[in-house]
Symmetry: D2
Subunit: 431 residues, 4 copies
């Protein structure tokens, strides 16, 4: 992908000339600090030798001088799209950073995503406080409620104006970020000083230019219980097959990580790797499976929801309310096709099917993943207070970054079949 | 149910006249010790006053004098039917009690249930030792493999004779116990001194005359994760409904216990309680649900797999290889009918469906449930060594008992809708 | 222990002549229903033949006719003593049964045990509602706070009078129950119609006449993590010893159950079984340990806090604020004595010490244990509404029972070293 | 710290001129590929403009051409120092990569760290295979056993020579890496072509030039259970204080992360931040605590084992067998000093002390942390096969790296009190 250095530039609402209210011992970030996109020293040197600027993200973090006057601020937080571990952590830390550190007097929680910004929904916002967000990180889901689907940008900006909201935090996926971009654009057109910051939520970890998304590690860990159960079911029956469907609409990172974390998984099917059911050659799944069953009499298979979509008869494409392509259920298809194939060959087979998706995405966030949520939220607030807008908070090579929404949503991150990750998966599976 | 005192009598292979090899400090059980079926003092007194014998189970436990000479014994263990937490615990403690306490020289693990007793299967048994069973309780499933379906009784007894097996432990459900009964009968016909002991496995806790079955408590605890996730999904979407299907083919004990353990469950549907989808009155599910959604905008529903079977169009009955009636999938039916009904009423609804069965049954057993497995296995060995046969190891009012297979399999235990359990469930739900 | 039939009689405040407000479909309990203390049929028959009454507990459960008029009731709940999994479950279900089923208008939560009944503490009670108790079962501890120590009975009854409290629920151990007894006596002396019901809390499961106490099963399961870690530490070092201290002041049930649930535990030390450190014979711990270490090079030992108290130099006895004997720390003593002994013998040893107590007792309650809490609480309310007082809610042979406080606190339940439980523990350990 | 570009150079045993046996589709790493130490674009550009080389680590990964001929290889793996989640994962993946991918015929597991390389220990190595390492990642600890302490370098190299070992993997901390360096040096002196690769194990995450160490994230997650229990204990008693001691000998990363992941922690004490017990000002702990208790009546405190060492009376320094400074027990000191201080002020206080260390370090590794172990091990094998030696496998900005042992052990990584991490901790605590 060719990128221009302008791709990395973050819009600013104006000059940041107010003193930050943060404790003076805070390690404020220099406004020009960056995180280079590349890491190879030779490549980096080449940019300079050719007289080019090194492509780099703006480094996130607290600024000594800020744009918004906290005492005049009103903030709003919303969550959109499907559940993901950590949503409540992010809500909690947005609230505590806005109120506790910057002394922003009012933080609203908007109900059910963008819908709550449409007065027709009659969904009154919640006032978020330390008290009502204190324990929420211990429960999964989102206390604000979420929804898919879009609302009219003009209507939403009207609401922001009427409520005097000048800091808007939108936690959600691609669609949510695009919507945030539209709001930021419309606010700019109207001459409003609203910082719109998107906090990227993708349990699939599939956002380009962001090396890690919150909830992903918790999801991988949660899949292990199911993988272990599938292994027990596979070994507990003659010619047993444990088949586990995991999330991963367009990218198979959860499936790949779960495979490496649970080395008894024998087949890892992801959207990036094409395969056929029947036929010959290394990409024909069922013949490979027959061969393994005859040899080992059990198998464990993990399949990302977006894998093998090309196997379905060509139906007209369907999209959900967020505009995502609705996938046919590959788990059910595989379960049925495996049974059919073995029956045809008159070989006994016992397929046990596990659908993990809601069970994985609806739990709370744990450990280092929760810390990641906390820091993501804090940096989102720092960015907003410094007057940034139309951006997402990212992470690159161990640093939090500012990423323009346009760049973050340009394309999805996918597993590179020539990467070390996939090589490792290949080495520990048989397909 | 009317019962005769003969219903409680356990067949014995002969007089137990050998000294037990157990440590002399062991609290041996007197051979006449019993556990009364009833507990109400007035009712108990009435039996005596009327000159009747108090109906009672034989008390389980080690006997000071045993029937089988351990040094001449060969034991075999098999697991049949679906997985259940604790199978490996039982296998482990059967092995350690037989070998460690009674010094039985050989314990075979039969592969894949009764199938492994049919030489046509070509499934050689495993020799079970302390070494190869040491850690198995930490993993779910069964190291022996399991299967459904029956084998010819004569063929199986031929195998037992050929292998000189005189102690057979069959871990499984109703079907398994009936098969064990057939083997015991056939062995008797042939004049063989084989103790056939069935260890009741039913994750549904639905065996009559047995107040608690292994794996049940672990299953209830495992359902909580899903119930909690369902609650988060329900609250995370506008008009969200979390729908959780749990095990419970004929009896809804898991659903009822999970409801009491997770008090945010609003609907508990079990086979014992009939309901209709539409219509009027207190048993019409969908109108009740509509009313709740309009009021609360979220609901959590747990449904046992055997609930609402009468809702399906009358199809010809189908049975699986174990002879169990195959149920239509009530979870899927409810999911679809709810969506349809709300669509018809033009009310938004977001149903998130969780199918827990394999995930719950394939895990390891925990805590007191594991202790229960250990003691069940030890008592099974004590019974076999004392020359009992054609029986299952049961539990009644805090004591382990001997229960004739015919009694244990006579009918399934079901939730009494007038019991305190169901009253409690009613009190904490809205249907 | 000889018991008189009067030992089982529960005081009643007066005739229950009001109709219960519970749903008429409720399976009301007949007021004369009982649960026999014995279970052996022969022993039961003998009572009758000798013209004696069968000793039996009153059966717990809802009565069709009650004593207290719910609309005039004020209830209070308190928790005393150390934490135990399930306290919040009991508080929640007391509240929901009182308010939801009996429509008692006010339920107070008394802060920090009996202290909150002393106005000098200036601790205002909380009003408990469905809203503020809805989620509390998901967290450990007690939302009311707890304390040890006694308050003046007269002062406390003054408070109950001033607050018009006529239903008092005291969740706690022996000391708490004795205090509840004193309050009941004082109320009787003053002619007050106050039902005082004690809900037995003992993580050690050591109450006589009660076969199971809440939190015990959760505690056993929680110990497994530590036992597993101790096993890893023991095997991870040359001559490694994993030493785990668990709760069990006077009775070693947790240690015994944890041993059976985690069969790699090699030594189970409980208060009931005396042992010496040095010396000879089967009760000398250190020589046995040396022998094992020389043979196996690792060992796992679990020790109840009350074990081996006789090993300490005779110090003057000390008691804590609840009047419990303060034990010397046997875990630390063993750790040090083992190190010393092996050093003396010039054998390398690596002792890793785990103290589990607070970590085990402070977590939430799970699964069937949570259901047990719910039913215990419901039955406590039924008993109070029916006009019972001066009693604890017990459990015997699968039934909930009413047990007079004097009987319940007469002596502690201990492990019978000739029972099947201890025989099983012996069989799976080496000491 | 000033660094020279030579600090980053990895010794090579010779020219890698054999074709790698890995699947040709593998994404081989170019031998000159690097990972820049710095990430700020301006700083990177400045190096080039000044004519300097950009400081950078060698990038880890499989090479198309390797140095060792696999069919002639013998590998050995050892674990040294304290337990850490993931040791068995690393052992497993070293084995599977060596045997499965490179077809190295023999992989030895050396028992109990370097001790197993001293023939005087009479500890025979284990032959590691796919079979005996298949499930080991599901258990904590190390199947090889570990030990502290050093052995004579010459003796160990004699053993390597006698056993024909040319690939040595040493999993351990600083001391282990230094010892590996000595072995590499001695091997070089003797002209032996032995690749010595150290895999950094530090649950404290305190190795400089390595941004993440295995087991750390699992440890942080495991601390949450204890923090939650401490919170329950603190709130469950009047003036309750939950005090949790965690690992962190010289660096407080676990304490800091656990604080951010569990936001009810009010005090986070780490070695990097000095404090006094009494006195005045912002660094006086006890007065701050008194003030909080008077206001809130409960507090949760987490303390790294190495915090507050300056509070102990100056005793002669002591070191353990690995040469680590033995710390006085700050947890016990705090517990006692807090009690003393409040007693002096005549304020009731209830301190509940949790020591987490063994319980945290002895469990298995989960999720993404397990994937990290897998990739660390694979890269260690790639490095060895490519002829690298005297290095550790590191991780920097999302890439695996080669780090010279001398650089990795130069100094410990510590929390920068001016970093965003510490600022975040400060913001969520009160001290």
């Amino acid at each position: 992908m060719t990128m221009d250095i302008k791709d990395f530039q973050i819009p600013r609402l104006g000059r940041a000339q107010l003193d930050s209210p943060l404790d003076p011992s805070t390690a404020f970030i220099d406004d020009g600090a960056t995180v280079a996109y590349d890491s190879d020293a030779a490549k980096l040197a080449e940019y300079v030798r050719k007289g080019k600027t090194i492509p780099a993200f703006e480094l996130a973090g607290p600024r000594a001088r800020i744009y918004h006057d906290p005492s005049w601020c009103k903030a709003a937080v919303l969550t959109a799209g499907g559940l993901c571990p950590g949503l409540n952590d992010v809500i909690k830390f947005l609230t505590s950073t806005l109120r506790g550190q910057y002394k922003v007097p009012i933080v609203y929680g908007i109900r059910y995503g963008y819908r709550g910004l449409n007065p027709a929904s009659k969904l009154a916002p919640i006032v978020l406080t330390d008290e009502n967000t204190d324990d929420i990180h211990e429960q999964g889901g989102t206390i604000l409620g979420s929804s898919r689907g879009e609302e009219d940008t003009g209507v939403m900006v009207d609401t922001l104006m009427r409520m005097n909201i000048n800091l808007l935090f939108c936690i959600g996926g691609d669609g949510t970020a695009r919507c945030a971009h539209d709001i930021a654009m419309e606010a700019q057109r109207r001459g409003l000083s609203i910082s719109v910051i998107s906090i990227p939520k993708t349990i699939d970890n599939d956002i380009s230019f962001i090396d890690k998304s919150f909830g992903f590690e918790t999801a991988v860990a949660a899949c292990s219980r199911f993988a272990s159960g599938a292994n027990n079911e596979a070994k507990g029956a003659y010619n047993g097959i444990g088949l586990v469907r995991v999330m991963g609409r367009d990218s198979g990172f959860i499936a790949a990580y779960a495979t490496l974390a649970n080395s008894y998984i024998n087949y890892c099917l992801v959207p990036e790797r094409k395969f056929t059911l029947e036929g010959e050659g290394p990409d024909a799944l069922l013949p490979n499976l027959v061969e393994r069953m005859n040899r080992k009499h059990h198998a464990v298979m993990i399949v990302a929801e977006g894998a093998g979509q090309e196997l379905f008869d060509k139906l007209p494409e369907m999209h959900d309310a967020s505009g995502n392509l609705i996938h046919n259920d590959i788990g059910i298809l595989l379960r049925d096709k495996i049974r059919e194939h073995f029956k045809k060959l008159d070989i006994e087979v016992n397929v046990k099917y596990f659908d993990t998706s809601y069970a994985v995405r609806s739990g709370p966030c744990h450990g280092a993943d929760a810390v990641f949520c906390a820091m993501l939220a804090q940096n989102a607030v720092h960015a907003a207070m410094a007057g940034r807008t139309d951006m997402v908070i990212g992470h690159w090579g161990d640093h939090f970054t500012h990423v323009p929404i346009a760049l973050a949503t340009r394309e999805r991150k996918k597993i590179d079949l020539h990467s070390q990750l996939w090589t490792s998966v290949r080495a520990s599976t048989c397909f």
